[in-house]
């Protein structure tokens, strides 16, 4: 587009910086939260110091995973920017690299912060019930693994965007570039909500197990159900991202005015689904935490609690569905 400027290489460097910069926010916050939880638990149970210290290190290691994913994408993008690209002036590749960086960068925020919260509550639970520490540690790892799913979706989309190869006639097509950038934004923003929400669900389950360890089998099922429900918005985001990346058949025949119109349209679709997934993800996570805590206090009420939980979360998901509908309409206009 602009003679003599290697915008694809430049965008790859910017993408690398965005990935690692944003990606470090969540994990930094989460690792700190887990440390606070462990420190408070140590103050109340000084003779459990060694098991709390071990648990803290495990939970912090898991909470740092999202930022390591961001680092991997950052290094890949740095290498791409440093190498001699076949089409260094390609607008489409520039947008794809920016999208890859933003996807994993935003996506790592939620999972990092959420996993840290899970770790913090698990340490509090071990401090309260030191005899059940192995059970709590295993449940913490299961909850954190589930909380990692949104950032894994982001990693997949980022890797696809790093290695995407548009057709030679489409290298300067604004509409295709906007679709790639929007795909990254959709999954990246969408993963913030579900990552945080899954962390909240698992944190609620940890505190519930700490209060009533006999109910662990039931509580673990409730935790996983709550996290699966909290995962719905990010799955909508993933669908929109895949649609934006893989349906580019008619882009060839767009004139320059059409390209501008359609690039706005695709950006709108991606940003709409990404932002719309944040709120329902966090809301579902809060509800899941309350369900686990209620179940620990009054296990005999599980039927009533389940009814309230499923109806309440279903209603809270409705705005994510509105966002999905608007995205699909924007996509098919």
């Amino acid at each position: 587009m602009i003679e003599g400027i290697e915008i694809a290489n430049t965008a790859a460097f910017i993408g690398a910086a965005l990935a690692v910069g944003f990606g470090a926010i969540g994990s930094g916050f989460g690792i700190g939260t887990a440390g606070v939880g462990a420190t408070i638990a140590m103050a109340t149970q000084p003779h459990e110091r060694s098991s709390l210290f071990r648990g803290m290190l495990i939970s912090q290691a898991v909470a740092s995973n999202p930022s390591i994913f961001a680092l991997v994408i950052g290094l890949i993008l740095y290498n791409i920017g440093d190498s001699k690209l076949p089409a260094p002036d390609s607008v489409v590749m520039a947008c794809a690299y920016l999208g890859a960086g933003l996807s994993i960068g935003f996506g790592a925020i939620g999972s990092g912060a959420g996993n840290g919260q899970t770790g913090s509550e698990a340490m509090t639970a071990i401090g309260r019930m030191p005899s059940h520490s192995s059970k709590i540690t295993i449940m913490m790892l299961v909850g954190q693994a589930m909380g990692q799913t949104p950032v894994l979706f982001c990693l997949v989309i980022s890797l696809i965007l790093c290695y995407v190869q548009p057709h030679a006639t489409l290298q300067q097509n604004l509409a295709l570039g906007a679709a790639y950038l929007a795909a990254g934004l959709s999954i990246g923003l969408g993963a913030i909500g579900s990552g945080l929400g899954n962390g909240m669900s698992a944190a609620g389950a940890m505190s519930a197990i700490g209060r009533n360890p006999e109910q662990t089998p039931k509580l673990s099922v409730m935790m996983i159900v709550g996290q699966a429900m909290g995962q719905t918005p990010v799955l909508f985001s993933l669908v929109v991202s895949f649609m934006l990346i893989f349906s580019n058949a008619e882009f060839v025949k767009y004139g320059s005015a059409d390209q501008v119109l359609h690039s706005f349209r695709f950006l709108g679709a991606g940003v709409c689904m990404g932002l719309a997934a944040i709120g329902p993800g966090i809301g579902s996570g809060y509800t899941g935490a309350a369900l686990c805590e209620g179940m620990a206090d009054r296990p005999e009420l599980s039927q009533k609690l389940n009814n309230i939980y499923f109806v309440g979360t279903g209603v809270a998901q409705s705005t994510a569905i509105y966002g999905f509908v608007i995205s699909l309409i924007l996509f098919s206009l």
């Binding site: 909500g193 929400g197 918005p233 320059s256 005015a257 059409d258 501008v260 119109l261 690039s263 706005f264 349209r265 950006l267 709108g268 679709a269 991606g270 940003v271 709409c272 689904m273 990404g274 932002l275 719309a276 997934a277 944040i278 709120g279 329902p280 966090i282 809301g283 579902s284 996570g285 809060y286 509800t287 935490a289 309350a290 369900l291 805590e293 209620g294 179940m295 009054r298 009420l301 009533k304 609690l305 009814n307 309230i308 939980y309 109806v311 309440g312 979360t313 209603v315 809270a316 998901q317 409705s318 705005t319 994510a320 509105y322 966002g323 608007i326 995205s327 309409i329 924007l330 206009l333």
Partner: protein, 84 residues
Amino acid sequence: MAAEMSEAIMKGAALLGAGLCMGFGAIGPGIGEGFAAGKACEAISRRPEEYSTLFRTMLVGQAVTESTGIYSLVIAFLLFGIGK
């Protein structure tokens, strides 16, 4: 050509606006409705005999919270009318 481009920009801005409108508009109701449902779960475990009252109150509260999400949906559809 210039007229064609300015029309494309206007329509495109309406479509981007529809996406931004629904996206931002969905954040608040999502968090708020989840909070309401969570508090309802807490309340049930404290006073299970008030189950039907709590269920009704939760649903009414969530329906009112939903209203701003529906405003966004309506505005997004109005913007589609311009951008189509």
